[in-house]
């Protein structure tokens, strides 16, 4: 039962990914990307990571996509953006197929192993995913967390400075 659901969601992910890369209008690409984000959130729930699914929807499908849609509508891209370019399609297809063949080759040949931790699915259900994330982040990863806050501050200042008419 679960595997049928998995294949259904995977099919929707691939189709909406094709929408992103093949649609002529940027708005349609953006809508396909939102669909992809939602399907990935479903995957995260199936992988026992509900907090990640929540912030996937809030940060990606909410914040980042609203920003992208704002810019698309603000720039009012007319016919200039719809020019069709055909050169380079063959080589790009070959390059991306090589990436795919690489992934399939290593997945077929290799085995995924590593040092196993102690966070089982049962523990996630009994303790709570958010609490586990918080515990790890605010003890082991406190320094990267602070650096990320400085990065976001710099990004805010940079965006304001870049988008202002005259500084």
């Amino acid at each position: 039962m679960e595997i049928i659901f998995f294949y259904l969601v995977a099919f929707v992910v691939v189709v909406s990914g094709f929408l992103v890369i093949l649609c002529k209008s940027p708005i349609n690409s953006a809508l396909g990307l939102v669909n992809t984000f939602f399907c990935l959130a479903i995957f995260y729930v199936m992988l026992h990571a509900p907090f990640m699914a929540a912030i996937q929807i809030m940060v990606y499908a909410g914040a980042i996509m609203v920003l992208i849609l704002f810019v698309i509508m603000l720039l009012n891209l007319g016919t200039a953006a719809r020019k069709r370019y055909t050169q380079g399609i063959v080589w790009s297809a070959i390059a991306s197929l090589m990436v795919l063949v690489n992934v399939v080759f290593f997945l077929k040949r290799g085995r995924v192993t590593g040092a196993e931790g102690d966070v089982t699915a049962f523990m996630v259900e009994s303790v709570g995913h958010t609490e586990l994330i918080g515990r790890t982040m605010f003890t082991e990863f406190i320094l990267p967390f602070e650096i990320a806050s400085i990065l976001l501050l710099v990004a805010i200042v940079g965006a304001v400075v870049l988008a202002k008419k005259e500084v």
């Binding site: 595997i3 990914g17 890369i21 990935l40 995957f43 790009s92 991306s96 992934v103 997945l107």
Partner: protein
């Protein structure tokens, strides 16, 4: 039974599609969206491996990737607005002012 290989296969397909989009499209915003697609496929890999190995660190990585992607979105879109103001286009073929 869904294994970790299924998820990594989906992530590989998404990454390949993102590569194709980045290489073929000429609209800077669509290229940006394809990069987001590739970042998301990497996020899926991280979370599936994190669940498979029963370790929390991969999900913390995904958290930081999301923070960096948000910062990148803000700065990148501001750059596109500035470029559009100067050249009336966001076609990457027009971005040749630094070309010798």
């Amino acid at each position: 039974m869904i294994t970790v290989y299924h998820y990594m296969g989906v992530a590989g397909i998404l990454f390949a599609m993102g590569t194709y989009g980045v290489l073929t499209r000429r609209n800077a915003i669509v290229i940006f969206m394809c990069i987001e697609l590739m970042l998301n496929s990497v996020n899926l890999t991280f979370i599936s491996l994190s669940t498979h190995l029963q370790n929390m660190d991969g999900q913390i990585f995904v958290f930081f990737i999301m923070a960096v992607a948000a910062a990148e979105a803000a700065v990148g879109l501001a750059l596109m607005i500035t470029f559009y103001r100067n050249r009336e286009s966001i076609d990457v073929d027009d971005m040749n002012m630094l070309k010798w």
